[in-house]
């Protein structure tokens, strides 16, 4: 599992509330990614990081922000959750061989 964990694994929240999802890795990988998975869309990149304090936007970044203050943690924040952000969120790392390995996912429901 490449030492990747995500927390929480499940969350139900109300529209308009802020939500932060955490991705933690234990193997010092430089690149980390946040994706969302939705039926009919596959996985879409939200944001990624290429080092501490270095982040960039992906395909579907509106409504999301990220932070990476240390190598092992990559946080995804929904500033004001909306029902359209109900999804399964996956974190990934890029290995030294150039392959991406994924965390177990966080199932987020916005009511």
């Amino acid at each position: 599992d490449a030492g990747i964990t995500q927390s929480p694994r499940h969350k139900v929240t109300e529209t308009g509330t802020p939500v932060t999802l955490r991705c933690h890795q234990t193997e010092n990988h430089r690149y980390m990614y946040w994706y969302r998975q939705d039926p009919g869309h596959g996985l879409r990149l939200i944001h990624y990081s290429y080092g501490v304090k270095d982040t960039d936007k992906g395909e579907v970044s509106d409504g999301y922000s990220v932070s990476r203050s240390k190598t092992e943690d990559f946080l995804l924040t929904l500033e004001s959750a909306t029902s359209s952000q109900t999804s399964v969120y996956f974190c990934a790392i890029r290995s030294s061989r150039g392959e991406q390995y994924f965390g177990p996912g966080t199932r987020l429901t916005v009511t």
Binding site: D1, Y31, Y33, G40, H41, G42, L43, R44, L45, Y48, Y50, D56, G58, F90, R94, G98, E99, Q100, Y101, F102, G103, P104, G105
Partner: protein, 110 residues
Amino acid sequence: AQRVTQPEKLLSVFKGAPVELKCNYSYSGSPELFWYVQYSRQRLQLLLRHISRESIKGFTADLNKGETSFHLKKPFAQEEDSAMYYCALLTTGGGNKLTFGTGTQLKVEL
């Protein structure tokens, strides 16, 4: 812009039958392609990478640049192959990002 197309949302085969999951891509650079598998409600697992030319769990995939395809094949389907399969294209430069197809649900029936 890069794009990955998996034309089948659902593929149903009988146990022991051959399987072919289709993947086509559009990319102006030199493509690097992957197949990922996701068993029910689990994390995505890397199944194949085209440059490694390995066979994992009996699956193989060959990159065909002329047809811009990277189809996943297995000669004899097993019940445990039932899962969601995603094809992904690596775009180099600027983050080494993956672009995923929409996935194909493989159902192996007895």
